[in-house]
């Protein structure tokens, strides 16, 4: 699974993208985030307030209950500020 972080989420996790193999118990975005938080303080900080986190799976916006599986591209980022 490829996980990408953008803007201040990247600054906090300290990584732009990483290839991860979460345990089989991780089946949703929320479970992936819970598992990431266990990986270190930077992740815990990045995901401290989920109201500020948006998620895309395979480049489509999804909510936290959306399933994630092997081979997915999962992106985590703050609310967008383009235009």
């Amino acid at each position: 699974m490829k996980v990408l972080y953008f803007a201040w989420l990247r600054s906090k996790t300290g990584v732009a993208e990483e290839l991860l193999t979460p345990p089989e118990s991780v089946g949703t975005v929320q479970e992936l985030i819970d598992w990431l938080i266990e990986r270190g303080a930077g992740y815990a900080d990045a995901f401290a307030d989920l109201s500020l986190v948006r998620v895309a799976v395979n480049q489509e916006y999804v909510d936290f209950s959306h399933p994630v599986k092997v081979g997915d591209e999962v992106a985590m980022f703050p609310p967008v500020t383009g235009g």
Binding site: F6, A56, E60, P78, V80, T81, G82, G83
Partner: protein
């Protein structure tokens, strides 16, 4: 048509190209977004030295194509163009161009407004402003969500 690029663009030239050879077009509407120098937290002018626009390559194009399709389904348009830049930009530089062309002006006005509202809340871009206090990520505005919601699609 959508374009995501680091380079600047010429709004007049882009509009000329869109109108060229299509005499069904009765009017065009354009919006150009610029880098302003106001500090968003203090409201002070001349505070932002530069802005860096980050985006999510791949998803950006996908989302822009999606909103362009939505606009074309909703209005009878003879042309749409979205150009969005990324990278480091200075105050006064152009960030975004939206152009819509139609037989009648109302469709051009409305769809241009729609595209900007949607782009603001759906296109995966993030602004980092360089201020005297260092780099600051620009916060999303609730008013932008309200502006998008008024169009009634989700």
């Amino acid at each position: 048509m959508i374009r995501v690029q680091a380079e600047d663009f010429d709004p007049g030239l882009e509009m000329e190209k869109m109108a060229e050879g299509n005499h069904a077009i009765g009017g065009m509407c354009s919006f150009v977004g610029l880098v302003r120098d106001m500090d968003p937290s203090t409201g002070e002018d001349k505070a932002v030295k530069s802005m860096t626009l980050e985006h999510y390559p791949g998803m950006t194009e996908k989302q822009l194509e999606k909103i362009e399709t939505l606009a074309n389904e909703r209005w009878d348009l003879d042309g749409t163009l979205i150009i969005h830049r990324y990278g480091k930009l200075n105050p006064g530089e152009r960030i975004v161009l939206v152009v819509t062309a139609s037989r009648h002006r109302q469709a051009a006005f409305d769809s241009c407004n729609f595209l900007m509202d949607w782009l603001k809340t759906k296109a995966p871009f993030w602004k980092l402003e360089e201020t005297p206090d260092g780099g600051q990520w620009v916060d999303a505005r609730e008013s932008d969500n309200t502006a998008t919601d008024k169009w009634g699609e989700s």
